[in-house]
Symmetry: C2
Subunit: 525 residues, 2 copies
């Protein structure tokens, strides 16, 4: 396997020669034939439409050559086979193994990790079943009605986004078992407010920290323990931990039980381990969680396809690289036309920006090209009444990633002016894609839309657990493939360390840094 | 008054000559003296720290000259005096008048608008008092316990952000009167899920649409009316409207009452009119809403100061222009270290991107420089465990706007490892500013932080209603001043029109656009 910087590849030059074709892409020629043909099938009935992306056949051919030259699928297979893909931290990268096996058996220190992950899944599934059956209860013997996750970053954003994405579906399908809440911030107002809203006696807390040393999470653990004690409730009857086996939270009698992950499951890739699995299984039942895994696994399989036109995650990744490095767009907006995905952009923001926001290659050498873009987004149609003004008529172009579904989750709808709300939602989505691409001429420049604003669309029938799993895996694999193109390590996050070190110094009033002390005074630390 | 394009000004050239000073700004020299001196006082006890911004004395002097040359404060005074500042739509811009008078009497069609706005404020304050006193009740005579806003864009994001910003403060201070919820999206899952969570009999709906023709809002109105009728509740006893006097919602017996704004209050600037005032007065009482107005009014006064070093909104605006047009940063992140401000970035995203996401000047002529940046953000410390990796070590630099407070809102806190959570929150904030600015050398490039990443900090004692008003007015005025520099109309939004027109065509299956029809088929509209 060759690991080469992107700008050292032959196809880098090929693509550079095609820049004019991308910049002069004829968005106004977008027609039915292009819309029907520029679609790549995904799993779980989803599809990726790239008709409104500035890619011609020669550009796609060059992107295929890039995929081949940078051995993107072979690198993915290496990852699946348990190679040390997180080189900086000397770790394997095994989140795909959480949802099924597509490579060799991965054995580490004598243990088959696929087996280990499956065992943990079975353990927390049984735990959730026991909670639902009332066999595991709180200190007073009352059944648990609410689960509350305590975690931050990857232990919060992904699980929270997935929970919100499915709660309406679960209610509509009669699958709801427990309510779920989340505490993440070290801001005491976060924990205090959530705690004030909880039926403490009926609440099970899911404490999530891989290392068992996350400052925010351990602080919030003590916050809830104090409240439980004050309410006369034994904390050890109300907390379950998700952590690594070497952490202080492991094998600890202070908790009802502990479920394990390991260093090969990165925080932002951990939603499909116990980090997301415990709370989702408690909320919706283990079978719903297994459907998420199954959808993701189907995507993982499809992502092994070498033909970029048949591998949506790979194609999406390459078009993103094309836009980032050759058309020079520094950002991407994620625009789900689905209220259920209200926090999905926040999770993708972490997934993408923490993975590929890097300025050194996998060998730790500085690189001279742009890597991961800024990612942001809000659900449509809300965004249309907000920041879309800039997207349509701003001085710069922002590539867009739309997501939409044929059916609503709750199927509770109303006809107004001859159409249902879901039809209006979809009509808005279709209209925006065309408006961004084609624009509209007007003698009044203030009412003119230049168009030429690229977008893609992921669409499917309805947002169900398997569709959600497929969707998330699509983005995980997209980010992974982009990391391979850029030759960065998408699986570490050294950029968080300096802040941690300086925080300790600021708290100790012993920073040795005058500026830090002065900011501390402004804030009365 | 002269309205000149930015690149035609003398100071544009002056600033261009200083680019090297900005690009080579010595962040590593940040010391106590700089931190203590680079502070501009704001109102309500807030202050704006720009120590870690790439501005030297000569740059600040040039920005002062720019402010003078573009007559920024004089233009603001014109706006206050009721001049037609929204030229494209031939409208005055009067949101400042909602919170106090700083200019001439503004009379339109024989009516003093300051008086009109005050009268409406008194009317909805009395209405809220009557609801709290149980004099106005739902159809069954039960007291209202929950208010639910139905609105989108400016009728949603601002009011929602302000409500979330104050609900913990209100609970801590015993000021809570009603709970509040929000329905915005045309996605039927939004309305259906919120409605399923409501005690309908005790719910008052606040229907907000200035024009009375917003598709999403009118659709959701019928959604709730249907639910109310099914529950045997007379809708006219459960809905109050906020609209303009010429709208179909005005003087309409289908509602408990109607409160009025006019075309001179833009959607994204309407939080301090009845658009935000009705729901906030219902939730927290009219006095709390008046405190928000008072804080904003103090900021508005301060924004008249011509010395940029004494006018934080003006200074913030100019530094933003400096970063956007001369240092070429296409985005800004808003990072509040306050969970209460969780949706404040989403509101500022609309405020900024919808106002200044323009490519023509106020006369409708295309301009050749960059205007409003992409704005995004999430609360810290959450963001630290998410996208901060890119902010620290990504290939591009993102300017940062931090916000922090000395005290928490709920004052319910816990000591862990010798410090309270609030102290940890502030220590993280101070540490991040210094880490972004100064970085850290390391022989391992992967662990190196280059620093040189600019940030500002707005800080205050505690997030109270007056502080919140001051904070929001700061950003409103900042965006206004930037619009004046760029010579754009920050008060229209023509970029939303094309989507609306195409949506109607898509719904009617009569677009005359093949591509739109084809997308409609993919989505089964």
């Amino acid at each position: 396997m060759q690991y080469n910087d992107f700008n050292k590849t032959t196809t880098f030059k090929t693509l550079f020669a095609l820049v004019g074709q991308g910049k002069n892409f004829n968005y106004k020629a977008l027609d039915a034939q292009r819309v029907q043909s520029a679609v790549a099938r995904m799993s779980a009935g989803l599809a990726y439409s790239y008709a409104a992306k500035p890619v011609t056949s020669p550009i796609l051919d060059a992107l295929q050559a890039l995929a081949d030259e940078q051995e993107l699928v072979a690198k993915y297979q290496s990852l699946l086979d348990g190679e040390t893909m997180n080189v900086g931290e000397d770790r394997k990268v095994l989140h795909h193994l959480l949802r099924g096996q597509l490579g060799k058996d991965v054995v580490f220190e004598g243990r088959n990790l696929g087996t280990f992950y499956r065992q943990e899944l079975e353990r927390f599934a049984a735990f959730a079943d026991a909670v639902h059956a009332g066999k595991i209860t709180g200190a007073t013997g009352k059944k648990f009605t609410t689960a509350t996750q305590i975690g931050i970053g990857g232990s919060d954003l992904g699980p929270r986004a997935l929970y919100l994405a499915l709660e309406n579906w679960a209610d509509a399908e009669g699958k709801r078992k427990l309510n779920a809440k989340f505490i993440s911030n070290v801001d005491p107002d976060d924990a205090s407010a959530v705690l004030a809203s909880l039926p403490l006696e009926e609440t099970i807390f899911v404490l999530v920290s891989k290392s068992g040393t996350t400052q925010e999470t351990l602080t919030n653990e003590l916050f809830i323990k104090e409240k439980l004690k004050k309410a006369g409730l034994d904390p050890s009857r109300h907390i379950v931990a998700v952590t690594s086996e070497t952490s202080p939270l492991a094998h600890n009698k202070s908790y009802l039980d502990s479920f394990y992950i390991d260093d090969f499951i990165g925080g932002r890739y951990s939603s499909m381990s116990g980090v997301g699995g415990v709370i989702l299984s408690l909320a919706f039942g283990p079978d719903v969680f297994r459907e998420i895994l199954a959808g993701a696994h189907e995507t993982d399989k499809l992502s092994l396809e070498k033909d970029i036109r048949k591998n949506a995650a790979l194609l999406d990744a390459l078009i993103g690289v094309w836009e980032r490095n050759f058309l020079d767009f520094p950002y991407t907006a994620i625009l789900p036309y689905s209220q259920a995905l209200s926090r999905f952009p926040a999770h993708l923001q972490q997934l993408d920006m923490e993975s590929n926001g890097k300025r050194v290659n996998r060998f730790g050498q500085p690189i001279a090209y742009s890597t991961g873009p800024v990612v942001f987004g809000e659900p449509g149609t809300n965004g249309q009444h907000s920041f879309y003004q800039l997207l349509h008529q701003g001085s710069d172009v922002v590539p867009l990633q739309f997501i939409g579904f044929v059916e609503s989750q709750r199927k509770d709808d109303v006809a107004v002016d001859g159409s249902m709300s879901q039809a209006k939602l979809k009509a808005n989505l279709a209209a925006q894609i065309v408006a961004f691409a084609k624009g509209k001429e007007d003698v009044n420049a203030n009412k003119e839309f230049t168009g030429g604003r690229p977008s893609s669309l992921i669409f499917g029938k309805r947002l169900t657990p398997s569709v959600l799993g497929a969707l998330l895996a699509h983005f995980e694999n997209k980010v992974m493939f982009q990391g391979f193109v850029w030759n960065v390590n998408s699986f570490d996050q050294e950029g968080v360390q300096l802040g941690k070190a300086l925080t300790k110094k600021a708290l100790a009033h012993a920073s040795g840094d005058q500026a830090l002390e002065a900011y501390g005074k402004l804030l009365e630390i």
